[in-house]
């Protein structure tokens, strides 16, 4: 229920697709030629600035790999109405993004959706996020 509320708020207030406002150059860290799509279960949501991180377990060929997904600033998510427990462990997410240049299971997220297609967030825009 809380997730639903949060999504409602988010769909009204946030978010541009495709771009994440940053404190450092993403182009340095991520590879434009490594566009990826992942499906996995949330293991942790780390609320932090300047970027939050979602960790998901992705199963490929019977092996589980924990991916670190870089997203927008915690403060933007908080201003958009997010609560700390809005993304519980086990939630299944579908993620589009770009993988790190070094090939590690790290990605910068361009979009996150639930399995039924509802959009979670791409990233955060400080200029559009509103105080609740």
């Amino acid at each position: 229920m809380r997730i639903r509320n949060a999504i409602g708020i988010l769909s009204m207030t946030v978010l541009l697709a495709g771009t994440i406002l940053a404190h450092h150059s993403f182009t340095a860290e991520y590879d434009p030629n490594k566009k990826i799509k992942l499906t996995g279960k949330v293991t942790e949501m780390k609320w932090s600035n300047p970027h939050s991180w979602i960790y998901i377990d992705v199963e490929t060929d019977g092996k589980t790999v924990n991916w670190a997904l870089e997203t927008g600033a915690a403060n933007s998510l908080i201003r958009a109405g997010w609560k700390r427990d809005d993304l519980p462990k086990g939630t299944v997410l579908v993620v589009d993004g770009w993988q790190a240049r070094n090939g590690s299971p790290t990605a910068n997220v361009s979009s996150v959706t639930f399995t039924d297609g509802r959009r979670l967030f791409a990233a955060s825009s400080n200029t559009k996020a509103k105080e609740k």
């Binding site: 994440i20 450092h24 150059s25 434009p32 300047p50 915690a74 910068n108």
Partner: protein, 517 residues
């Protein structure tokens, strides 16, 4: 009897005001805490009585009753902290000190007072606190932070501040005294005389202590300094370790070398004047009331001051340069080449903001984070959510001596009609103008104009003159929008999970270069 009473009354009325009556008061009648303050004790080393140890002078404690009432497990933990203090102290990693520790560190801090907020700006890593005294509840309850959430109220002449939502990562002192995330600090500020604040903090934490306990100490007014400076802990640490490398072309020359003479530049273009709004809110002294919470509409200035349309992770930018009229920065050839080079992946590590260092001027205005303007008597203060501050005195003082160089520079301001004009020099040349690496050096001289063109909008213009990098001055223009809102904490360096990735990219590049040569 009657005569005796009358005589006493006369003495009170005429002979001598008590110290409490001599204190300065604000326009709304509250004790005026504005000024530069610092403790004169050794609480930063150890809150309790302590003999001298290596790197730690002896000191008398500030804990009432002398003893911190730890639960048994916590007393053991404190001893462990003490043994490991050289590395385990959060300040050894340049993390935020938390409250109350920031209040009694051996650095001066400055208090700015308005009816709605009391701001405290600290030299240590340019941390600040905002104590909300407007009676509003915290809008984002439950998000813990390093410096906590501070809500103040007046009890007579005492300012009482509730500090909540602490994380469990800060200490009270260098001796390893600690707390959990259940910490609740109640501070009391009371003026003993015009130059002394009595500071008390009651510490409650049922997870760590057996009962509440209290510290108290005087804060003394600094009378012989007129501004506080900066100690950017992490930047200094990384410079010392070599993780943040000097750029000889843009940094202020190292101590011992003579700075070159900075040539003069031809004048920049003439800009069309802007009309200020006629229905502005005004302060008591008739100036436009600029105070409030702002988001800049930077149009991607943090990803390029010139217009560009690329959109892989770095957003396209609309271009904010209004002079030269074609929107192109008047780079010297070497600096244009450097600017292009900085976009290569291995240079991402070199952007100081990737290290969570301060963004500088004017970048602090258009990084994608909000800021708050306070307008206490005699100053305009800008608090940037990416933890740093700018203090702009309006008393016509001169700039700092040339050899004193700062990340945020030295700013002085004055009003031209309804426009606030801020002049900033003494930059250190370590900053980048944005993520694509627009270049600036220590010779940077910035004149900012905060032009209130609508009741809730400032049109911001910054003219940058930098003869080391450019062939002429240039100007950017960005709207700043006042909104409802409060600052949140950005613990950037504390949370930074990105820098090592950027370092890997750089190190791989360097290893490759070495192999090829």
């Amino acid at each position: 009897m009657l005569r005796a009473q009358s005589a006493l009354l006369l003495v009170v009325l005429f002979a001598g005001l008590t110290p409490a009556q001599q204190i300065q008061r604000t326009a709304d009648g509250k004790p005026n805490f504005q000024g530069i303050w610092q403790v004169r004790n050794r609480a930063a080393y150890d809150l309790q009585d302590h003999a001298a140890r290596h790197g730690m002078p002896a000191g008398k404690g500030v804990v009432e009753g002398g003893v911190i009432p730890y639960q048994p497990w916590a007393a053991a933990k404190k001893l462990e902290n003490f043994a490991n203090r050289q590395t385990a102290d959060p300040l050894a990693k340049c993390f935020f000190p938390g409250v109350p520790r920031i209040m009694y560190m051996e650095f001066p801090f400055q208090i700015f007072q308005t009816p709605d907020q009391i701001a405290m700006t600290f030299e240590w890593s340019q941390v600040y606190r905002v104590i909300h005294t407007n009676g509003k509840a915290q809008p984002h309850d439950g998000f813990e932070s390093w410096m906590g959430d501070s809500r103040g109220r007046w009890e007579g002449d005492t300012l009482v501040v509730d500090v909540t939502d602490h994380n469990d990562k800060t200490w009270f002192d260098m001796a390893g005294n600690f707390h959990s995330d259940a910490l609740h600090v109640t501070e009391r500020y009371r003026m003993l005389d015009a130059d002394t604040i009595q500071y008390e903090a009651t510490i409650e934490d049922p997870k760590v202590f057996t009962r509440p306990w209290k510290i108290s100490m005087p804060l003394a007014r600094h009378k012989n300094i007129d501004r506080i400076l900066e100690y950017q802990c992490q930047a200094e640490a990384e410079e010392a370790s070599g993780d943040f490398e000097r750029d000889l072309r843009t940094w202020y020359p190292a101590p011992g070398s003579t700075p070159p003479v900075i040539p003069a530049l031809p004048a920049g273009g003439t800009l069309p004047a802007l009309q200020t709004a006629t229905n502005l809110r005004r302060t008591a002294d008739g100036k436009p009331d600029l105070a409030g919470f702002y988001q800049s509409n930077g149009g991607g200035a943090n990803y390029g001051l010139e217009r560009h349309d690329r959109d892989f992770l770095t957003p396209g930018t609309r271009g904010v340069v209004i002079d030269p009229p074609d929107g192109t920065l008047p780079y010297q050839p070497w600096a244009r080449a450097e600017r292009i080079n900085r976009e290569l992946p291995h240079r991402g590590y070199d952007d100081p903001t990737a290290h969570c260092f301060v963004a500088g001027v004017p970048r602090s205005i258009y990084v994608p984070s909000p800021f708050q303007i306070l307008q206490p008597p005699g100053y305009v203060v800008i608090l940037h959510e990416r933890m740093s501050w700018r203090i702009i005195p309006l008393d016509g003082r001169a700039h700092l001596p040339d050899n004193l160089r700062l990340w945020q520079g030295d700013s002085v301001g004055h009003w031209e009609g309804d426009t606030l004009v801020v002049d900033t020099t003494n930059m250190n040349g370590k900053t980048w103008m944005n993520e694509v690496g627009d270049v600036v050096s220590y010779a940077e001289h910035v004149v900012e104009r905060f032009i209130p063109t609508a009741t809730e909008r400032i049109t911001y213009r910054a003219t940058v003159t930098d003869p080391i990098v450019y062939t002429r001055p240039w100007t950017i223009e960005i709207p700043l929008n006042r909104q409802a809102g409060e600052l949140l904490e950005v613990a950037c360096h504390e949370d930074n999970g990105d820098l090592h990735h950027l370092k890997d990219v750089r190190d791989e590049y360097r290893a490759q270069q070495k192999k090829e040569n």
